[in-house]
Structures are given as C-alpha cells and as structure tokens.
Symmetry: C2
Subunit: 753 residues, 2 copies
C-alpha cells in the first residue's frame, strides 16, 4: 500500500503553509498534534484508521452507518429506529448538528430544551445505550436541504459581505466565503459551544461519538453553482497582505516573473487579478486560472485546518473525516489532506440520482465513476468510504427503488468500499421554517418520516447481513490485471480548464477518455484495472504489472520522469492517446517523448479513422487521433489507419529494457473492436484477464483475502443477462468454472469462488 | 382534427415564396400539383394519407416497415429476410439509395452490375414478389453511417466551396450547404438518374414503391454540429440578389426599419450580416438571430421543394415523406410543410440510445419527449409516423436489448404512433470503403449482418402481431382530460435562443418547464394531456376542455389574442408561469395581460419558495417564480409563498365568463406535491382524470375507437411495479376496475378495457 505522506510529491503546490491566520495557528496545530494519537491506540473502542480498512471497536470490519437526524426523528421513536438499524447490522449512526437549530438568535444557544429538535445529548445517550457508535457532523455548513445549509439566517442576512462571490462580484447564491473574517469569528463561537458538548460523549469519555466530520461537501456549494469563490475581502484580491497576493508572492520570484507567466502587465502582486476559466484564450491564461484554482483549494484547506484546530482545542479527540461531494471530487482535497495529518479520513458521497437531470437508475457509466472514486481514495491511502450512500432522495421523483439501491450498494462493494453511511436511514419533519423542500423530510428513506418501514430497509438489511457474514471482505483487495497511472491533475482540471488550443489534448479530455474509453472497454473485456498514483513512487517496484498511461498534452515533469524510470526498470507501458508536450505549469516539457526517441506526433482532424492494429480490424476512433509522422528509431509499427495509411500505433523496446506501446487514438467505448484493442495491446504487455465472461454487459470484480475470494457479477441494465464465466483467483491454483450464470435486471451477484 | 392549411397562421414567416430558383420553380411546382392526387385515390394499392391514420392497400392500418439495405444485405438472402419480415407482420420495406454507391465517379452511373450492391431494381422486384411495399430514400444525403452521409467523395473533395460554414466561415465538418449552386447542379443530375428508375416501380406502375423520402434528417447535419449554415455563397450574405438580403428585404420595409429592429447601422440589405446565437446580448440581437434561423429554415424548405419538383418532373407519383432527426425537431419543418402540399408526410426518428452519452434504456424523460413528438405531429394534421424506430445501433455499447425495445415500441403506440420503420431490420457488410464505423454494418439488428435471427426479431414480431390483432388501434385516439396549448415557437427556439435577459422567461425555459414540469407532473397524476395548436383556431370551439397555457415572456400577438378569444367564449385556462410581455418579434405586447386586468407580475430570485395553494401545502418551486404584486380587480388569491406571503396564484372570472387561473411558478417535477398541484388546479377548471393509478411510476394512456378501448400501463424503470388501476373509457358507462396490476421492469402492458 501507499504511504499517505508520499502521494503528494510532484503536486507542485506551494505557499499554502503561509495561509493560516496567526492568531489561530499555534494553539490549533499543537492541539491537533496532541490529539492525533488519542484514538489510534489498538484494540480500543471507537474507530481506528488502518491502511486498507477500519478497525471498529478493535475489530477489522465494515463501517455500517445510517444517517438519522435527532432534529427530525421524533424523540420517542429514536430508540426503536436505532434498534431497527442494529437489526440491519448497523454499527454506527450519523447525524448533522445544524448550527441554525442551536443558535436561533445571535449568541443565544439552545441545546437543552426538552424536545428532540435541540436535545442531541439525549440522542447520543440513546445511541450509546443501543450500542451504536456515532459520527457527528456539526458543520458549520451542513447542507441537508436546510435553508442556507444550516447556517443561521441572521448571519447570512446580517452580513451579506461574508457571502461568496463570482469573478464579476455577484453573489454565488447564499453560499459563504469560507475564510471571511466575520464568518470565521462566528464559526469559532459555534464550535466553542458545540465541541465541548460533543467532547463529553466521545469514545475516550465512554460515549458513542467515534468520529467527527469537518464541514460538508467542501467546495461543492461553490462549484455546483458554477464558480470558485472570488470574495475580494476574504481572498484579499488587491489587498496588501491579502491571501491572494501572498499566495502569488510565494509562487513567483517577483512581479516580472508573474507577468511573464501570465502574459500580463501587473504593477505588483497586489494589483494582480485572477481570470475566469471561461475566458482563457491561451496557455498563459490557463496558468493564471489554474493558479487561482489552487489558491482557492488552499483557502479550503486553511478553513478545514481552522475547524480541526478549533475542535481539538475544544476537546475533540476522535478522528476527523470529510465527504467529497461527488465521486470525482476527492482529488480537490489533496491540499487539505496534507495539513490534516493521519487521524483524518476522506470519503465521498455517492448518489446515482438526485432529480430528473440524472439517470433514473444505477448505470454502467455511473459504475465507472464509482470505480474511479473508490480507486482514488485507495491510492490516497484510505480505506474507501462513502459518507453519503444513497438511501432515498429529497425528491420523490424519479422514484428511488429498493432493488436499484441493492445493486448500487453491492457495486460499491465490488469496487472496494470499506464503509458507508446511508443518507438518510430515517426521515422526519423539518424544524419549523428551516426546511428548503417541505415540512416533511421523509426522503423516501428506509424508515419514513412517520416511522414506517419501507422496502429499502429490506435492501439495507440484506446488504448489512451480507457484510457481517463476510466481514473478511473488509480486508480483501481487488485482483488486478494492470495498472492505470492516475494523474490527479486530470480530475482536478474539470473545475478550471475550459480552454482547448490547437493540438492540445486537454486534461479534461484525458479524464473523459479514461472513463468512457479505456476503463469502459476494459470492463467490457473483463479486464481488471487498478489505479496507481502517478505522483508517487510507491508502485514503481511492481514491475510485473503492465501500466497504462493516459497521456494528456500537459503532464508534470516529475510524473514524466517517473514513467521514464518505470520503463528504464524493465516496465511495460501502454501510452495513449498522445505524449505530453508541456509540464504542469504549461511550460514546454518533453521528457517522456525525448526518452521514447522523439517521435513526431500530431493531432489529426479526420472524418473517418479505422485502424488495423495487431490483428484487430476496423477499430474506429470517435475521439481525438494522433498520427506519428516520424517513428522513433527501432520502433515497430503496430497499427495504421486503413484509409490514409498513417501510423497510429507502434511498439518500442526502451533503454533499460522497457516495453512501450504508443497508441495515438482516444475513443468513447462503442464497439466490440474497442475491447479487442485493449485486450490485444495489454496482452502484448503481459496482462491477461483472470476472468472470462462471455457477455460484455456483465461486469466483474474479483476480491481476495488470503484463501478466500468473491467474484462480483454486475448486470446494470434493465433486462436480464446471461454469461458464461470463469475465473482464476490467487487463492486457487486452478480455473474456477462457474458455467452459465443468470442475472436479473439491475442486480449484482456475489459468488464465493 | 386540424386542417393542415390552418396551423401555420400566426407563424410570422415572410418572404419564403421568393426563394425558389426561377429556372426550377414553374415546372417543378406544376409537376408537384399534377402528381399530388395520383396516389390519393381511395382504395388503390399503395399508401394514402388520411387525417388520423394511413390507408395501406385500401385498408386503414398501421405501416409496419423495416429498413433493409440492398447494398448491405447479400442478394441471395434478400428474399428470405423479406419473408422473415412479413412473418413479423411487416407490410413495407425501406431502403436508402446512396448516391455514392451509384455514381462512383462524376457522371459514371452504376445501377445494373449483377451484384446486390448496385442492383436496387432487382431488390424492388424481390420486395414486390414478396408482397411488400417499399419506401425509397434516395437522399441526396442519406447519413446511414456512410462516409459523407452517402454523398460522393469526389463531389465533397472536388468542391469544398459547397460545404456548409459556421458564422466564422469555418467548415461544419463535411456537411453540405443545401442550396449551393454546384451542389444543386449535381443533385439534379443524381435525381434525373435515380428517379426515373424508381418511377418504373411505383404502385401506379404496378410496382411496390409506395412512398419516397426527400433527403434525410434535414437540418440535423448542421444543428448536431452546433451551428446553422452560413455559407456566404449559397446564403448570399453580402451579395446583391442573394438569398439573405432578399429575405431581409421581404421582411423589412427598408434598411432603416432593419437597423431599427436590429439596433444596427447597416448601409444596405446587402451589407447586413447575421449574428451568432451565442453572442446575443439584448432583444434586438435575439431578433436578428431568430430572423437568420427562419431564413435558414426557408432555405431548407426551398431545398426540399427543389427535390420534390425534381422527383415529380422525373415521374415519381407516390407521396413524399421526411424524417425529422429528433423527436423535438418536427417543428423545424413548418415552412417546408407549407410548400409541400397534401401528399407529404412528416415523421420523426426515435432512438433512446445511440452511444454512451444517452441513457442506457428507455426512461420516463424519454417517454415525455415521445409524447411531445407524437402530439406535435398529430396537431400538424399527420398520423404520427416514426421513420426510424430504434432497431439496433451503430454501436454495440451500450447494448440495445430486445426487452427494452419492446417497451420502446409499445410506449410509442401508447402515445399515438400510427406507423413505423425499424432502423435497421437487417444488417450487412458496408460497400467497400464507404462505411464510417466498420466493414460490417451489423447494427445489432433483428437480422444480423450474417443473416442470423436475434431476440430483437422476436420483440418486433410480437409487436407486429399485436398491431395486426388490434388493427382498429390505428384509428383510435387518446382520451384526454385537458388541452395544452402548444406554441411551436418553444421547441423551435432551442436552436437559436441562448440569451436570457433579466425578467425574461425564455422560450427554451418554457419548453423545458412543459416537459419536465407540467407534463411529468400530469403523467405522475394519471392525468392525460393532449396538445392543441396555439397557432390555429381549430380547437377554439372545444370549450369543454380546460386549457393549459405555458406562458413565456414572448408570445405571438395572434396567439395571445387566441387565448383571449377562448376565455371570452367561456373557456377555462391555467396560465403558468408568467404572462407574455413581448410578441414573436420581441416588441412589447401585453394583449393577454391586458385582458386579465393588468396584474403586475415579476420574476423573483428566491432561495426558497414553498407555496400553499388551494389546500395543497409545501409545494416547492425549483424553477423560476413570478409573484403578483398587483392583483387584477376581482381576482381571488389561490396561493401564497409560505415564507414571504407573496401572491403566487390567483383565479379570475374574465369578461365573457371565462375562468382563468394564473400560477406564477415553474418547476421540474420532483415531489408528490407537484402532482397534487396540477390535479388541484385542473380540477378547479373542470378537468378530472379518467384514470386512477396508485403508483406515480406507472404511466398510463387510454386509447379508444368507438366501443373499443385499450389502456396502456408503462413501467419505465428497472424494478417491478404494482399499481391499483381504474379507468372510465368513453366506450363504457361504468368505471372499469382492473385491481392490482403487476408490471415487470421496463415493460408496457396493453389491456383492453
């Protein structure tokens, strides 16, 4: 496994350390360090973070949590609902603690009125009595379909200056600017009230609270409204001593160097301004937009660090966690992770549907995203967690159905989920005038607003029972046939990179090609990829495993060098669809191309490209195509365009005995030829599937621990599917023949092999 | 039913008549008129177009056609495949006749080589012998995953000047500019060769050819590449006597009037230029973009008229047809229909999936689009036809499954499809070097490239058998509970309207609200809407039927007046979410608002709106909201925002005894409250569902002819569904209780009631 400290090398992030406000930093960081190991003692009650799974109350097992809001569920029904969740194999309850509920007027805190809405201490008591752990989520922002996401209305209305802003200085809805001084002042007051109460109930104090989440879906509130935060006051744009000029000063030697990088004419760092991603017209613009994006993420890590410091200062000794708002958002927290230390757990949220604009049910494309999500968390060094796993929807159209959820849950397990929290397990009425959608936050949950038990409860119970019957799966890992070198710059680029110059294969295009092309074709071919972090050396020793490199036009120097080292060390790599020409700050960099003998590769606009490659014919590119107009010395041509005769693919033995295949095409998986292409090229590099499956619509995942293996077979379509299946788990010497397997629509079968 | 001549009134289209090239017009139109009634004699062999269905060989029945390409299917297997299709109740075969196949070199026509690739006369003979009619589709553009869509490579390569252009004068891929003189010259030569051959085999000559399609998916090749055609030569932009200045001259009194309308300073019509829809910043810009869009559609109708004229000149006496490329594209042909006369049949293409960017299977949102498509064709006066009904895919991922197709077919029938053509029924090898995707155009069709019979054949046979067993359904109509006044300007606006000013509820927003809001809520409530054409008077007499008006900010004067007349005549209407403030050319126009007593209605940006309306609570708007700040005299408040107290809905008895409800909110259907809202308000206007269905995820359609009715029950989800169902068909006096009905995943049940 990967050392968590290593994976950030090569990220090229600078200057973030300078961002913490001085009055908070020393105490907060000391508290953080002091508390860091409190919950990490082996064998104790609570949650301990291991590399590949969690240890819960001393036992390596799955976290099975269900969200249940004390401020929504009737107090008299708390215990019954908790017992129901225990019956479904649950071991943890999660709850938001909404600021707006507990500070209804400035400075007037309300925790102890007898009603359930305010009395979360009794709720913690009930959970403890039921033998459940608790994950607390006190915000400050919680979302949860509450007005202002649970931030008090008096604060938002009274201080519009703390709202986030677009680059054109317009409000970004009612979202806050994380590091605005007035916001932070109020946040500090909130945490100083709520944290000591939580602290009385942590596992160290014999209570049930085993983990605390810092804020909620950080960055999501801004990004989902289409913008970063450009609040001039909190970001300090144009301000002497402001965060933005300080960041620029940390990154550039002087203003001349800044102007050189941006193609601009600023007189000082203080007069420098960001550029909107929508308005980038050249690489210099893109550099400027990327800088601001990284600066913004720096303020997010600063905010998270302030929250962590406040919590530790106020007695919280349990691990922290955070939920990336979408499967592809976890890489936005690389900066944050670096400053949070070891007692921090990053997970994601996972919903297949939240309204009409998304597919009605779990689909194959959604499953590719979940694979990426689980794998990204794994290579960051985390046992993959889903802190919000679909357990209903704020909408009741489209309907969230129990059978679809059952498939969704098992699909996550197939791809490596080691813990989850149903959002929500139990619904109920909203606190008066705080709900956004309705007085009743029923959510279509397993336990409805009125306490009724829904079919979804059956699906969750069935899944929980399966997990407890197969607790060993918490330590099982996926058997992989090849590595995909994941460049975290690709998913991160989705949030700032709108520019596409001539000849440029952009990072967002590369991310799309990875998902819709390479991975989808691999799954159809029953090949099992695993990610490895292109920003880390940890996987370099594993020379056995063939590597796929998704080559965008811009790749960090250190990452190019790492691929070179892999090849020099007898590694085998498929590089597709292009070779980098620039580094991570968009300066010319051709390290990888130089190593491969400087082939001339150029982007071709063609109506039709049909490639004949290593025995596979008629492979259509429906994406970007790069022809090689000058082959490197010693290269063997593998594939040509059947129409033009242009060279599209070649193979080379590199210095040091490596084997490199270059394939100059991207594609969106659309035809069986694409899966033949991937199988053929990977077989040339020594990869062979451990699984055979005659139906490309049945996707597979083989998970093994020691001498036990489970094969997951997924039918993510609305029709039944049949397939002849075999597999060769590490745990067996022979091929296991499963014969013909039948799968009902939208189901995932788990077969121990 | 609607008189086909009427529905264009109020379209505001001017100057199109002037566009036909003089050398073609007189002969072509005379031929067209002469031939128009040739195929229209009752009882004769062939296809006769009726108002509500087709008459085929003298019998009112369904057109059941299957696409089978002679240039792909092996000649030796033609007859067997045709017999298979007849066994599946087919009565027609359709085929493209690709220009590139038959004119491989300029002027060298190849029709009679012995191989099947060129010998379409033998193919027609085989179809005739099998007793099947034939729908011929000789282009000139055919698409069909052929290179250049079947236009000869020598023409495209030899004359790049005939390619379509973006507003920035870049090529729009390899697509042609329809009215470019060199293109039309070559098209004329092609039609003069191919039409006389076809003419020898029409039904009038005792052959099987019963219909001919003009070109293919007109406008799609441009619009799907994101642009209209701005080829300066064919469009005559900046050219004296050019089409564009002539169009402008026909529309504006003089250049001063043009400049006034566009907020521009052109010196003459000849120097006027269009504006890109992406760059519109005010209503004057929008007016200029809309003018160009209508001008472009005028050139499309000119092209279609030239093709029709050429065909008639060259002996084709059968009806013409055309396939709009997408369900929402049929309104782009209003200009074309006006010039084609009565012997012309407009239909659409219908695919639920053509690759990874679309849902894997038929879904509820797709079903709303199909409803709109069928209803739009019906109110244009056509029996709704689907000239390409999904019968596979050029991709084999995602898989197109027989069960999903079976649901897709029956869903179309539920919404009124009266004839269809499976694209494709039979696959086969591409002609050498003409295929875009692969040498094998298998298409996953019912009959595969190698002649194999697939499960999809079973689904088509089952559907065909059902249609023949229930031929009376061809004359059945949907039982509707209320009318939706369809403004064709809404779906048309999708192609040119990117601008959204303050306070403006745009036509594209209105179209989205219609689909995702009003219709989806109605279907969940088991209410049955029917469209009526807001551009026609035909439905005005039907005062019984409550009317829903989707009010955008811009509505043609004639359409506003028509709503007023409806209300003056004791009509009942729900108007939502806003009242028009401008007419169709974006000049102030408040006829409807004036009639309603001039309420003050303004767009509110609110974080939360929760409406309490006529007994239904907590109705959330997740779209635009319009509050009424000054109520009309005599209005009764129906609904207020629970948070602000603002008036959102009111009811008024109008002059002449009409009943008007104004509801100032749009929504995307997301909660049960939305269906309660629609039910409540429509009930106030006298509409009541003839169907009750306890499961909102089971959608319904009741079709009746005389004393026979079929109730369609649709489960478009991947899980089974149950519902308690009753209905009251016109054909019965009593309520029919169906009890609890069970539906398998993704199935449509047809129950005769």
């Amino acid at each position: 496994m990967i050392d968590r400290r290593v994976f950030l090398s090569g990220m090229g992030i600078a200057g973030l350390e300078t961002l913490l406000p001085r009055h908070l930093s020393s105490t907060a960081l000391q508290s953080a360090n002091r508390a860091a190991h409190m919950s990490n003692a082996p064998g104790m009650r609570g949650i301990r973070l291991m590399e590949d799974c969690l240890e819960i109350d001393g036992r390596k097992t799955f976290l099975i949590s269900g969200e249940m809001h004390y401020f929504r569920a009737p107090k008299a029904d708390w215990r019954r609902r908790m017992e129901l969740f225990k019956e479904a194999s649950g071991n943890c309850i999660a709850t938001y603690i909404p600021w707006a509920v507990h500070e209804p007027q400035p400075g007037k805190f309300l925790f102890e009125s007898g009603d359930g809405v305010h009395d979360f201490e009794s709720f913690l008591g009930a959970a403890g009595a039921a033998g459940l752990l608790v994950l607390v989520r006190p915000g400050p922002f919680v979302g949860s379909e509450l007005i202002h996401g649970g931030i008090p209305d008096w604060l938002i209305k009274g201080h519009p200056e703390l709202l986030a802003r677009t680059i054109d200085d317009k409000h970004l809805g009612d979202t806050v600017s994380y590091v605005h001084p007035i916001y932070l002042e109020n946040v500090t007051r909130w945490f100083r009230q709520v944290c000591p109460i939580i602290a009385r109930h942590t596992v160290q104090q014999g209570g049930p609270v085993a983990m605390m989440q810092l804020d909620n879906e950080l960055t999501g509130l801004h990004l989902w409204r289409g913008s970063l935060d450009y609040n001039r006051e909190s970001m300090g744009i144009g301000k002497s001593g402001g965060r933005y000029p300080d960041f620029l000063r940390g990154r550039y030697d002087g203003v001349a160097s800044l102007n050189d990088a941006y193609g601009a004419h600023f007189e000082s760092f203080e007069t420098a301004t960001p550029i909107s991603p929508d308005r980038c017209k050249c690489l210099a613009d893109l550099r400027r937009a990327k800088d601001y994006f990284e600066f913004y993420l720096g303020t997010v890590q600063e905010y998270a660090r302030i929250l962590a410091g406040l919590a530790r200062e106020n007695g919280i000794g349990v691990p922290f966690c955070h939920n990336a708002g979408e499967p592809n958002m976890s890489p936005l927290f690389l900066e944050t992770l670096r400053s949070q230390g070891k007692d921090f757990l990053l997970g994601t949220d996972s919903y297949y549907n939240l309204g009409q604009d998304r597919p009605d049910n779990p689909t194959a494309p959604a499953s590719v995203d979940i694979f990426c999500s689980m794998e990204m968390l794994r290579i960051m060094g985390y046992p993959p967690m889903v802190f919000e796993l679909q357990g209903g929807s704020p909408y009741n159209w489209p309907p969230i159905q129990a059978g679809d959820c059952a498939a969704w849950y098992r699909m996550h397990l197939a791809y490596g989920m080691k813990g989850s929290n149903y959002y929500v397990f139990s619904g109920g009425p909203n606190p008066p005038r705080l709900g956004q959608t309705s007085d009743d936050y029923d959510y279509g949950a397993a336990i409805g607003g009125g306490g009724e038990i829904r079919p979804l409860y059956g699906a969750q119970k069935e899944f929980g029972t399966f997990l407890m019957d197969n607790e060993w799966l918490a330590e099982a890992e996926r058997e992989a046939d090849f590595h995909v070198a994941l460049d975290f710059d690709l998913p991160r680029s989705l949030r700032y990179w709108k520019y596409n110059g001539e000849q440029l294969f952009s990072n967002p295009s590369a991310w799309e090609f990875l998902r819709k092309g390479l991975l989808t074709s691999s799954f159809c071919a029953a090949l099992s990829p695993a990610f490895c972090d292109l920003g880390s050396d940890a996987w370099l020793g594993d020379g056995q495993m063939p590597l796929v490199v998704i080559g965008s036009s811009c790749m960090a120097t250190a990452k190019q060098e790492r691929i070179v080292r892999f090849l020099e060390n007898k590694g085998s790599a498929l590089i597709t669809p292009t070779l980098p020409a620039y580094d991570e700050i968009f300066k010319p960099s051709t390290i990888l191309s130089d190593f491969l003998g400087n082939p001339m590769v150029r982007n071709q606009q063609r109506e039709v490209v049909r490639i004949d490659i290593a025995g596979a014919h008629n492979i259509t590119s429906n994406g970007a195509v790069f022809t090689t107009t000058k082959l490197p010395a010693g290269a063997e041509v593998l594939g040509v365009d059947e129409f033009s005769g242009d060279v599209i693919a070649w193979q080379l033995t590199t210095k040091g005995g490596g084997k490199a295949i270059f394939l100059g095409m991207s594609w969106s998986h659309g035809r069986i030829e694409h899966q033949q292409l991937v199988s053929t090229l990977l077989a040339r590099l020594g990869a062979q599937s451990k699984i055979t499956c005659t139906n490309p619509a049945v996707w597979t995942s083989l998970r093994t621990k020691g001498n036990r293996s489970v094969l997951f077979l997924m039918n993510l379509f609305s029709q039944p599917a049949d397939a002849d299946v075999t597999c060769q788990p590490k745990s067996r010497n022979a091929t296991v023949k499963l014969g013909r397997v039948h799968l009902e629509p939208m189901t995932v079968k788990c077969i121990e092999v």
